[in-house]
């Protein structure tokens, strides 16, 4: 679904991404993990085609730089915070972006029902809670039924209830076969939603781990360290630094 090949990005002297390689299969949920400044958001912005970079990123075989429009038609993006004008009503926001995403009224209705905002159609964005706004962002990202969702710390500004409601929706979408690429600072949601965790440090991939969980991904288990079962990812692993199996080396120090 997504192929990231030797991606490099510099901001002046600062190396934000230093030869990142990553393949994400269709239907897979991948979390980008790492400390601030590791390059997570920069990698997302490169994937969206928002900034120039060296290397190559393709979405469904479409080069994001050469065929940006066609590639972006295959993805929905959810930013950290809703950037919709506060005086816009929920239904107006949906109608506004439905035109661009070639979505019809039926699809708008279905998505509003999915994110449980159908009763809040006439509510202004300013009057929506943080959780409602993020669910609206999710509905907007799903317009046109893109197979890929790109989320940039989508729950960082939500309270516990809002976060839970949002994560439940993401898990539902994941089960429905959406490919998900997201960043997060919260270990619980990374473990809950991700099939694979890509750890970035100083712009490099320093860890690729598969999350092995019980049959029910939502069932609460012990702590983060117990829930993670790091394995060397034979298919994708091209770590620039030695790969360690010990959880403490996988950013869990940061997680905990």
């Amino acid at each position: 679904m997504i192929r990231i090949e030797a991606v490099r990005k510099r901001f002046g002297r600062f190396v934000a991404l230093d030869g990142v390689d990553l393949d994400i299969a269709r239907g897979e949920a991948v979390a980008l993990w790492g400390p601030n400044g590791a390059g997570k958001t920069t990698l997302l912005r490169c994937t969206l085609g928002l900034i120039n970079f060296k290397g190559r990123i393709t979405i469904d075989g479409l080069d994001i730089r050469r065929h940006g429009k066609a590639a972006r038609r295959r993805l929905g993006y959810i930013p950290q915070e809703s950037i919709l004008p506060p005086d816009l009503r929920v239904s107006e926001a949906m109608a506004l972006f439905a035109g661009l995403r070639r979505a019809n009224g039926e699809e708008v209705d279905r998505l509003l029902a999915l994110v449980e905002l159908d009763a809040a159609r006439s509510r202004r964005v300013a009057d929506c809670s943080g959780g409602m706004r993020q669910r609206l962002s999710l509905a907007l990202a799903l317009l046109g039924e893109p197979p890929l969702l790109v989320l940039d710390e989508p729950t960082s500004n939500l309270d516990a209830a809002g976060r839970k409601a949002f994560l439940d929706l993401i898990l539902e979408l994941k089960r429905a076969g959406k490919t998900i690429l997201f960043t997060s600072h919260r270990p619980d949601e990374v473990h809950m939603a991700a099939d694979r965790i890509v750890t970035l440090e100083n712009g490099r991939v320093v860890g690729l781990e598969r999350v092995i969980r019980d049959a029910d991904p939502q069932r609460p288990t012990q702590g983060p360290a117990q829930r993670l079962s790091p394995q060397r990812d034979a298919q994708h692993a091209r770590p620039q630094q030695p790969f360690h199996d010990a959880p403490s080396s996988l950013g869990l120090g940061v997680i905990a």
Partner: protein
């Protein structure tokens, strides 16, 4: 169109077509920009401001004549030239900067560019959407004044001159919007971009006249050189074009006006319109290139 069709692998022809401007996307983005203009109320404020200014000029033009009411079309148009040269560039430049820089600051530009649109579409649609809104604000201002002049029983035969000035004011506004958008594309910080826009306005409205006078004395410039330098300021082009529309001699502009009239003859108006069109298209094209190449 179902989801499978929307996300199916596009044909090479479809991919090639996607690189160009998509009329559907362009229409959607223009509507969004116009909606933003109405929501932000700048369009309404500009329309009210321009109406008040032009009405003030129309009534002020009669001061000292001992007559009440508004002046005729010709006199109002002549009096409006300097006001337009001052206010339209200020409105156009600040507006051109605000749209792009404001969206960049709020983060909504990145969100917009993460949609299936090209940067060229976004830039052009922003410009066109703002242009339509700006022209509507000017039309309301000029239209209200024209209607009130017609009702005041003092209209004269110079309606053509008034319409000519209104049209040229629109072109001057489009030119300034294009320059403002170029500034916003080139200068990433909103505060700095606004600073550059204000300085550009000062330079075009005040400093260029002084600079031209100073340079002509210091370097003993020939009249043709002064004319050529004047054309580097869209405000001066507007002045030349509007005066030429009043069927009057350009001698009010001194040797430069007379020289332009002698060299260009009856084509002064067409030539100035051409230069004004260049002042719209060139900054617009440069701005689009800069916007497409620079990080947001």
């Amino acid at each position: 169109m179902n989801a499978a069709a929307r996300t199916a692998a596009p044909s090479p022809r479809a991919l090639a077509r996607e690189r160009w401007l998509d009329p559907g996307n362009l229409t959607w983005l223009i509507r969004k920009e116009m909606r933003d203009a109405i929501r932000n109320r700048w369009m309404i404020l500009y329309a009210i401001a321009f109406t008040l200014i032009s009405l003030g000029v129309a009534s002020g033009s009669r001061l000292g004549t001992g007559m009440d009411g508004l002046a005729g079309y010709g006199k109002t148009a002549a009096s409006l030239i300097n006001v337009v040269m001052l206010f339209v560039p200020l409105m156009g430049l600040t507006l051109g900067v605000t749209s792009l820089a404001g969206e960049r600051e709020r983060g909504s530009l990145a969100y917009l560019l993460a949609q299936p649109v090209s940067r060229g579409e976004v830039y052009l649609a922003k410009y066109l959407g703002q242009s339509i809104s700006f022209l509507a604000a000017l039309a309301i201002g000029f239209g209200t004044t024209a209607a009130l002049i017609a009702l005041s029983a003092s209209p004269d035969a110079h309606t053509e001159a008034f319409l000519w000035l209104a049209g040229l004011s629109g072109m001057l506004g489009l030119s300034m919007l294009a320059i403002g958008a170029l500034i916003a594309a080139a200068v990433r910080r909103p505060g700095s971009a606004m600073g550059v826009a204000i300085f550009t306005w000062l330079a075009l409205a005040f400093l260029s006249d002084l600079g031209l006078m100073g340079a002509s004395i210091a370097f003993r410039l020939r009249v043709q050189d002064i004319l050529a330098l004047s054309l580097l300021n869209p405000g001066q082009v507007f002045k030349l074009a509007s005066l030429s529309g009043f069927e009057a001699s350009l001698d009010v502009l001194g040797p430069v006006g007379l020289y332009a009239q002698r060299v260009l003859g009856d084509s002064v108006r067409a030539a100035m319109l051409g230069v004004m069109a260049l002042w719209i298209l060139v900054p617009l094209a440069i701005g689009a290139i800069v916007f497409c190449r620079r990080p947001i």
